[in-house]
């Protein structure tokens, strides 16, 4: 074990590891590209669905089961299936990652909407806000913390799963995992896993900053108080 760690450290210490077309920096950009693009697309699809379900209260059953369904969908199978249809391009990766992220975001958005105080929603309607105004002025701001929890969870999963891009010859940190596996070079696998974990944690931290920034001040104060 100690030997492996020493090897991993040597792997990281290798100066040529970091630059060039196969360097860590290039792989980082690739990994970010797969992960972020997928997450953004997933948000664009999932957020409206979650908001709609939460706002109308219809399809909650669908939302809850979608989560189960999404978790059960084997990513490797999806990648391969799309690959067999689309051929050698990035579609398999994006489809699999988007499909992975959507359920998490939908259910968390729905949960966020469902958690909006019934009285507040009632008062908003009773005060004369129309459906869209209730959604965008009241429900959405109040659901932001939970929606962002969903996005964070999705990003962590997507970053870890973007490893699969390397299986069908593309880049990202997954390259180190698959190459290391094929070459029986565990230090490389370990290095790749560490890079992926660090990236996931870093993105999660960045998003928690965004979450704080997006959370309305009144709500943040309230939460801080009720946590005390």
């Amino acid at each position: 074990m100690g030997e492996l760690i020493a090897e991993v450290l040597r792997w990281f210490a290798d100066g040529t590891r970091w630059s060039g077309p196969e360097g860590v920096v290039q792989r980082l950009f690739e990994h970010l590209q797969y992960s972020l693009l997928s997450t953004v697309v997933a948000v664009l699809i999932a957020l409206p669905i979650g908001l709609l379900i939460g706002h109308t209260g219809k399809g909650a059953f669908f939302a809850i089961n979608l989560a189960s369904f999404g978790r059960a969908l084997p990513t490797v199978g999806v990648v391969i299936l799309v690959f067999l249809v689309s051929g050698l391009n990035l579609w398999p990766v994006y489809v699999a990652l988007v499909v992975l992220a959507i359920p998490v975001i939908v259910t968390n958005t729905y949960a966020g909407m469902a958690a909006v105080d019934h009285d507040v929603r009632d008062a908003a309607r009773g005060t004369g806000l129309n459906g869209w105004q209730v959604l965008f002025q009241i429900e959405l701001p109040l659901a932001v913390p939970l929606i962002m929890n969903g996005v964070r969870l999705a990003v962590v999963q997507v970053v870890a799963t973007a490893t699969i891009a390397a299986y069908i010859s593309f880049g990202g940190f997954g390259r180190y995992v698959f190459d290391g596996f094929a070459q029986n070079d565990l230090a490389q696998v370990f290095g790749g896993a560490v890079l992926i974990a660090v990236l996931a944690i870093a993105l999660d931290l960045a998003l928690s900053g965004l979450q704080r920034a997006l959370t309305p001040r009144g709500l943040a104060l309230q939460r801080r108080r009720s946590n005390r």
């Binding site: 309607r125 009773g126 004369g128 129309n130 009144g218």
Partner: protein, 367 residues
């Protein structure tokens, strides 16, 4: 004026919340809908601003069927206050109050001025405008709820158990405030509660609902207390119907007897000379302080040292019930009367109060 014509409301799960309701809610008055839970009172209220649409029948506001008006437009012209205030937690107090004016497209300055005006109206400090709802007490939040409902000066105010979640002391305070506001504003207020005492205290008219959505009686509080329509209403009003009746009339017509008062800074020796038995101690500016027995005075010092038995002063607006209560808790069996400034004007005896009660009973019973 709000009217219900043969209104029924059946929910999807099969329960009937309101059955064949015919009711006319008079303009400029405070009408209370009261009943136990599940009697349809809240449903009735929510049909007025179309939070719920009736299954059949017509709900009219100023003669117009509410179904003919866009729901949001309708609601912007009807103030709405609910339990727990329903304030938007992510918006400041000022923004909360400004909700409807902004929806109506008022300019910025007008909105700002209105917010300040309303904070004054409901008795809140102006600097609360920048705070968030959770930074306020329950009572304050409820006042903000009222201010928000009043923001665009709607002729109608719907209040759904607005004081249900605050403690009794604050509730009494808020009820008094509401009565004071109504004295000034003369809105058409529809107020839902399950508390019959609150209904009697606030309502110009009271509608009693029975489980299953029946309106059982719709009349003035006095008529309700003296002529309950049936056993259900009588039961609902409770055992102390007579006493509740006393809360409906004031001390105004009860004569005031003079009383000897001694200021609390008077020395004990001097106070002894003022009389024997119980004497009424007052503050230096004439407000009632309490009853003191000369035998219980300390050896020396001033009257205040004797720790008087507190006696609250009653204005002419105070109810006979409150006066009777004061006589019972007073060591001398007298209610202390004060003028508008709160200065002691004299006392009234239980006999005098009872005489007035008897006359009142006769007045309301006769028709």
């Amino acid at each position: 004026m709000i009217s219900f014509e043969a209104v029924n409301k059946k929910f999807a799960d099969g329960t009937t919340a309101v059955r064949e309701l015919d009711m006319e809610i008079p303009e400029g008055q405070l009408t209370v809908l009261v009943g136990s839970s599940g009697c349809g009172k809240t449903t009735t209220l929510r049909m007025i601003n179309r939070m719920i649409d009736a299954t059949s029948g017509k709900v009219r506001v100023d003669g117009r069927d509410v179904r003919d008006v866009n729901a949001s437009t309708l609601r912007r012209n009807i103030g709405y206050v609910i339990q727990q205030s329903g304030l938007f937690p992510h918006r400041t107090i000022g923004d909360n109050i400004a909700t409807v004016p902004r929806l109506l497209g008022w300019d910025r300055k007008r909105v700002r001025d209105r917010v300040v005006e309303l904070l004054d109206t409901v008795g809140l400090a102006r600097d609360l405008a920048g705070k968030y709802p959770h930074q306020l007490s329950g009572g304050q939040q409820q006042r903000v709820g009222v201010a928000r409902a009043l923001a665009a000066d709607p002729p109608i105010l719907l209040m759904d158990e607005p004081f249900g979640a605050v403690d009794p002391v604050v509730r009494t305070l808020l009820q008094d405030e509401l009565l004071r506001l109504q004295d000034e504003l003369h809105k058409t207020i529809v107020f839902v509660t399950h508390d019959i005492d609150e209904a009697v205290k606030l309502g110009d008219r009271i509608a009693i609902f029975k489980t299953g959505g029946h309106l059982v009686q719709f009349s003035t509080p006095a008529e309700l207390l003296t002529h309950p329509a049936d056993d259900f209403v009588a039961d609902f009003l409770g055992a102390e119907r007579g006493l509740k009746l006393l809360s409906l009339t004031s001390l105004a017509d009860v004569p005031i007897e003079p009383v000897t008062t001694v200021t609390e800074s008077t020395s004990v020796a001097e106070a002894r000379r003022a009389g024997d038995g119980w004497i009424l101690a007052v503050t230096d500016n004439g407000r009632p302080r309490g009853w003191v027995h000369v035998d219980h005075l300390p050896a020396d010092g001033v009257l205040a040292d004797a720790e008087p038995i507190v006696a609250a002063g009653l204005t002419a607006n105070a109810s006979l019930l409150a006066a009777l209560d004061a006589t019972v808790s007073s060591p001398v069996g007298l209610a202390v009367r004060v003028d508008e400034d709160g200065c002691v004007a004299g006392v009234s005896s239980p006999q005098q109060i009872n005489e007035r009660a008897a006359r009142f009973r006769a007045e309301v019973l006769v028709p």
